[in-house]
Subunit: 401 residues, 2 copies
Amino acid sequence: MAFLKVVPLEKALEVVLSFDISPGVEEVELENALGRIVAEDIFSPLDVPPFDRATVDGYAVRAEDTFMASEASPVELRIVGEIHAGETPKIELHKGETAYISTGAMLPNGADAVIQFEDVERFDDRIRIYKPAYPGLGVMKKGADIEKGRLLVKKGTRLTFKETALLSAVGISRIKVFRRIRVGIISTGNEVILPGSELKPGQIYDINGRALADAVRELGGEGIFIGIAKDDRDSLKDLIRKAIMLSDIIVLSGGASGGMRDLTASVIEELGEIKIHGIAIQPGKPTIIGLVEGKPIFGLPGYPTSCLTNFTLLVAPLILKAYGREGRIKKVRARLKHKVFSVKGRRQFLPVKLQGDVAIPILKGSGAVTSFVDADGFIEIPENVESLEEGEEVEVTLFSF
Amino acid sequence: MAFLKVVPLEKALEVVLSFDISPGVEEVELENALGRIVAEDIFSPLDVPPFDRATVDGYAVRAEDTFMASEASPVELRIVGEIHAGETPKIELHKGETAYISTGAMLPNGADAVIQFEDVERFDDRIRIYKPAYPGLGVMKKGADIEKGRLLVKKGTRLTFKETALLSAVGISRIKVFRRIRVGIISTGNEVILPGSELKPGQIYDINGRALADAVRELGGEGIFIGIAKDDRDSLKDLIRKAIMLSDIIVLSGGASGGMRDLTASVIEELGEIKIHGIAIQPGKPTIIGLVEGKPIFGLPGYPTSCLTNFTLLVAPLILKAYGREGRIKKVRARLKHKVFSVKGRRQFLPVKLQGDVAIPILKGSGAVTSFVDADGFIEIPENVESLEEGEEVEVTLFSF
């Protein structure tokens, strides 16, 4: 067994990112696309506006007919029709002609400008114009807003209402999105029970199961809670087998006891292959990464803050890569509230709470639920650093996806 | 008709916030609660941990038995049993006794400390201890993490995986959340058609319908797209009646033409009551706010950026208030990329794009779809201000919910 041949984080990540997770693609209606991740570059199938469009209520003209207009010598044009928004113009403007046109309507052939109605005088079937109109006045030209063929939404984009609205504007009603990556979540430990069950003395409620399943959902995946494995071989094997049937990736979080950790490693080795067992980081030293029936399986620490830190460092990058969203882990810069110490030779990830741009280290211990809830993310204290100073600028990797 | 009796934004907001929208409450399983908005303060029903809990693998002891221990004169204790995680201890420690205990297990009666196994020597049924243990060593006390009765999640909180995990940790499996507020969305205009339909000359695809429906969803509501009203009385009345049956709030966005605006006002007045018609802001001057069968109805501008600005100023606050999330419109501070001008006496809201902490004014015109997509939010230029300077600090209200 590759037991605790500790490797650097970079090596572990290299192994993780070599796993081939293809979520597959599905087509969804635009109205159900919010929050989904686009599986291909989307280009505009048309010009917006799709025609030369009046931007004011007024009179469509041939600009050259008006070039000589002045206060002293107005130009008169004959009204040959009306064009309303949504209509296909049935008329064409010839020299000396004009047509009433409403905002949003399509310019008739021959016209290249729209003079707003406040700027002309109307007499029955004629208008009088007192100053020249230039070509393009009162008009949004075909394609001026969005040109046909323009890249609208890049592959890997997570759709907000901005993008769904943009796709609507170019008439796209169905789009290809990545199928949600299914992540099977298993909690472990004899003492751990599900919320909703009655707590017997000595038992505690599960936290990592819900945390991981919902973190996966926030990442755009489907978090499937498989169950809680007891501290025995058969229980763990059963749940891993079930997870393999239902998921693309399996994530276990360890029970508190050291025995559970060994059991997890040995069961993964029996069912598949351990690729990494031990990473030179704290927390996360005993983390396991393996493959069972071609599916990546992760054994993460049991303490909630440690579990989430390792999820963010190792599992989230795999999910993001599969979605074409490499490197989209959220990070912010902040200043450290007070000095913190580490141990030389230990690469440490320390949970912090953010208050504006100040990062407050959480020193309560990663076993506490309250540490987990307070933590907005973590900072790294590199191997060769023994302390970070008060006020020092740090990069905070966020627990927010 | 209360036509264009222009009122200040504050007056309009006062009217909006006086509307009584009670979304109602429903109970959901914790596993379906992510993203929902909590309808009551939630307090912890128990202590976490629910018992004094070993934080290391080792030996449970009565600390006072070890006070005299030293390298020169170790203390010996007799092992009377083992306690594993998840078990109810069947033993009690008396003077001179100890028990093997694993991490996460419940301390037996009598014990008040756990000495990790590396720090003792074991001989058959006895251990030898070389230094004193203080009460609480190797123990997380009952309630040390979360005390019973502590406020966990406040009413109005939108649940992220942090909160769902916290609720799981205290054993809560069902929670009361606000029912999603249903917002019926109507687009208007003869030239506007739905994406997926074939575009005829003179027609354009709808944008506001999708934008508003999905913005409402991002706000935690249910955006229901009702349809596109043609520029005639019956079409508009039919859709408003349908919207009233299906929704708690109705939002119309105007077609490009002025005639549509008048029609909307007259139909709302026929079906109900206009409360506000005209607000002293740009864009949004002709905005209509009314009540039809007790349900708030908004007539917003047709240009997408203007529509979204007015939605953010007027509709979003009503939805947030109903959820107990008053004032949770997202705002950030930024510096203006370059000088912008306004007209004295006009209170203007200008769309901006954010690049880091720099706000770049978007001057392309609010009719452009690309303006809408580029805009991250808007800044206000007050009535008595004619320009904002390059580098000036501005507050950006975000188009992000």
